[in-house]
């Protein structure tokens, strides 16, 4: 985007006249004020609708005995449609308050979920029922595309990941076997979101939706990969063996089917993105290839466990490599957020490994002193690097 520095450079090189420069500077400043005001309106609207949503739900909850079931349903379902309709009116029909309208449509999706849970409660449907999350997700998914809504795309992606967790723990049992395989499940789910997000890029008008879905996918996969750098999740530890073939035998067939299905769809999606993406850039090929590699290695780990720390070591190497790759991709694609994500994860990784490795080895006081020094110096270095990347990206953008 044009800024004052660039305009002054053009003035100095006599590309534009002084009058033109003054007009351009005035326009840039005006646009800047408008953008700030627009962001403020969006923020206030979103806070407002969240408060409205919470208020409606709490009203029903706190007057549970005083209100009949039918009245509860009417209040909540009525509020859902009121928010949806009003939001639609403001954004598309009248058109004068599009941001407030979008926020109200988003509130409608939240109240839709609340309505589902309320009805489930009225009929005493099992509290840990994963199907309620799935119904909520199915209900709001069309709105992502109907209104090209990034917040609803974000909510849908999070609901998908939440549904997986509810499904895995549907028996209410938190056994070591189940917890140990969570990273594998979420890497396949995260890769699925990443590949589906990539396919959205095929339609330019869905590019913002694509980005949101891909980022959620990356985050889910990164958290899972981070967990796999620890012995508990990828090696031999304590009284239980993740490496035991009994672990897979103890899992339900639905869980194993889920992992295979998500992975199969992800692999197809990643290949499609690699070879048919309109962008056809080198970065796109490397990104999808990397995702394939991470997924493939995780599946090998899951189906061919080994009673040693070999996989733990390999996952640590993969994680570090991936994080450095994130920073590189952020730089190449002028994507500040992605570069920051990479820096953030390097910090978490170093800090976690420091605790993991040195906690038992050092005297407590030395542990905290050294840890503090590393964090302060590391923080300074990271901040300097982040500013440097930001400056470089800003220069390139201009």
């Amino acid at each position: 985007m044009t800024n004052e520095t660039q305009i002054n450079e053009w003035l100095e090189s006599k590309t534009i006249t002084k009058a033109q420069a003054q007009k351009m500077i005035a326009d840039v400043n005006e646009r800047g004020k408008e953008e700030k005001s627009s962001k403020l309106i969006t923020a206030i609207s979103i806070i407002g609708v969240i408060l409205l949503g919470i208020g409606t739900i709490l009203f029903v909850a706190s007057n549970w005995d005083q209100i009949s079931n039918i009245t509860k349903v009417i209040i909540l379902v009525g509020s859902t449609f009121a928010a949806y309709y009003t939001g639609y009116l403001l954004k598309y029909q009248k058109g004068q308050s599009p941001k407030v309208g979008a926020a109200l449509i988003f509130l409608g999706t939240l109240l839709f979920g609340a309505s589902i849970f309320l009805i489930a409660q009225i009929y005493n449907i099992n509290a840990n029922s994963h199907s309620l999350i799935l119904i909520w997700l199915i209900g709001i998914l069309p709105l992502v595309y109907a209104f090209n809504s990034q917040p609803i795309a974000l909510l849908s992606s999070l609901l998908f990941l939440t549904w997986i967790g509810f499904f895995i723990f549907r028996n209410g049992r938190f056994s070591e076997h189940i917890i140990a395989i969570l990273p594998t499940i979420y890497i396949s789910a995260g890769t699925l979101l990443f590949s589906i997000g990539g396919i959205h890029y095929f339609k330019p008008e869905l590019s913002k939706i694509a980005r949101i879905i891909r980022i959620i996918g990356i985050k889910a996969a990164m958290i899972s990969l981070f967990l796999l750098t620890f012995n508990f999740f990828s090696g031999y530890g304590g009284n239980y063996w993740f490496s035991s073939p009994r672990v897979i035998a103890n899992l339900s067939s639905q869980t194993v089917t889920g992992i295979v299905l998500f992975s199969a769809i992800s692999i197809i999606g990643l290949f499609v993105n690699m070879f048919f993406n309109p962008a056809k850039s080198k970065i796109n090929t490397i990104e999808n290839g990397t995702a394939l590699g991470v997924l493939g290695f995780t599946l090998i780990f899951f189906f061919f466990p080994v009673a040693s720390t070999l996989y733990t070591v390999l996952f640590n190497l993969i994680f570090v490599g991936l994080v450095l790759f994130l920073i590189y991709v952020g730089y190449e694609k002028y994507d500040q957020k992605m570069a920051n994500m990479g820096i953030y994860w390097i910090s978490i990784f170093v800090f976690a490994k420091y605790i993991d490795f040195f906690w038992g080895l050092m005297d407590r006081s030395i542990f905290f002193l050294v840890g503090g020094i590393i964090l302060v110096l590391g923080g300074l270095a990271m901040e300097r690097k982040r500013r440097q990347i930001k400056a470089d990206l800003t220069k390139i953008n201009n």
């Binding site: 909850a61 549970w64 005995d65 349903v73 379902v77 859902t80 449609f81 949806y84 309709y85 639609y88 598309y92 839709f112 309505s115 589902i116 849970f117 009805i119 409660q121 009225i122 009929y123 005493n124 449907i125 099992n126 509290a127 029922s129 119904i135 199915i138 209900g139 069309p142 709105l143 109907a146 028996n171 339900s252 067939s253 639905q254």
Partner: protein, 166 residues
């Protein structure tokens, strides 16, 4: 397709989901056979949805040997139909279990969750009962003689109607 049409289609879609959900449960409540099931309580507290009592029933744990069957006849996650004998007080007790719904009698659909030897644990989808806030503990303390009144429809689906003290 213009935005008006999309808006209306989505509205109808939401009504279909919510209406369908209510209709599915109301069908069981209105057409189902009323049965009383003896309970064994477990533990209350759903953090996000107010107080609820987790219920276990006498029919939740089935000794397959007493029905001339074995635990190895079943696998985890199997869908089963438990046929109930209903006495003159409407209290239901197990008379049989199978993987297909019988053509006669009242059967409740469940899912096998755990198998220990010849004992199998079955979940019926009626293990939560939502109560007014802070009353869950009081109910739990008096669960010695509590029966749960459920409606079971012809497909084996069950919905809790109320708690009954006997």
């Amino acid at each position: 397709m213009n935005k008006n049409r999309i808006f209306i289609i989505i509205g109808i879609f939401w009504i279909a989901i919510i209406g369908g959900f209510i209709a599915y449960k109301e069908f069981t409540l209105q057409t189902g056979q009323e049965v009383l099931l003896k309970t064994r309580p477990v533990d209350p507290r759903d953090f996000f949805r107010g107080d609820y009592v987790i219920l276990q029933y006498e029919i939740s744990t089935i000794d397959t040997e007493s029905l001339s069957l074995k635990g190895s006849d079943f696998n985890k996650e199997d869908k089963v139909y438990v046929t109930l004998d209903i006495d003159e007080n409407k209290i239901g007790t197990i008379s049989d279990i199978g993987k297909e719904i019988p053509s006669e009698g009242t059967s409740i659909e469940g899912t096998v969750r755990n198998i220990r030897g010849d004992n199998i644990n079955v979940e019926y989808g009626i293990e939560s009962y939502f109560v007014a806030e802070n009353t869950g503990q009081e109910i739990e303390n008096n669960l010695n003689n509590i029966y749960v009144e459920v409606a079971i429809d012809k497909f084996g689906n069950a919905v809790i109607k109320s708690l009954v003290s006997k």
